[in-house]
């Protein structure tokens, strides 16, 4: 079963606005990763945050992790139409062989 739950399921914003997506999970993790998917095909890795980190930045992306609440958020600042895609969080569960458990994803639409 999928452990990640993402919120919202769909998000529509205007270009230039910020987009925030949230992810909750249930078990202890080694790390949490965010991926992006265009057109239902291959996923592209965006950012990885380890369980001992609280915040990480990469360009216009900011990820936070709260292990006490078992939640993470992805913020995309100054969104562009090209950011339109589905975004998935994935957790690498502690003690596991390394497989990732993916959430159901948030579909982001950025209107020009």
């Amino acid at each position: 079963s999928q452990q990640g739950e993402e919120d919202p399921q769909a998000l529509s914003i205007q270009e230039g606005e910020n987009a925030t997506m949230n992810c909750s999970y249930k078990t202890s993790i080694n790390n949490l990763q965010w991926y992006r998917q265009n057109s239902g095909r291959g996923l592209v890795h965006l950012i990885l945050i380890r369980s001992n980190e609280r915040e990480k930045h990469s360009g216009r992306l900011r990820v936070t992790l709260d292990t006490s609440k078992k939640s993470s958020s992805l913020l995309i600042t100054a969104s562009r139409a090209a950011d339109t895609a589905s975004y998935f969080c994935a957790t690498a569960v502690s003690g596991n062989t390394g497989k990732l458990i993916f959430g159901q994803g948030t579909t982001l639409q950025v209107k020009p």
Binding site: Q33, R41, F88, T97, G98, K99, L100
Partner: protein, 114 residues
Amino acid sequence: GAGVSQSPSNKVTEKGKDVELRCDPISGHTALYWYRQSLGQGLEFLIYFQGNSAPDKSGLPSDRFSAERTGGSVSTLTIQRTQQEDSAVYLCASSTLGRQGTQYFGPGTRLLVL
């Protein structure tokens, strides 16, 4: 450098037939994963290979599904006696370190079972 490649890109088959899906991971990546994604859904883990260790098959939905990884590189996912509910995009990923590594995904194989 080449990324993860998968073949075929699309596969249409009739119910009851067997299909084989191929994945070529990034050279040097020791971990290889198979996932399944149904329309509009998240990714469902199927199987994981790490080096010479026994694969983690815990995600395979039935005994009709099997996978091999030959020579620690190329992997084949086989679905026997396909059913319509097997229709999905099958994604392969590889990484350098199973527990810590970023996974690099292939473009997927879109399977349609009629």
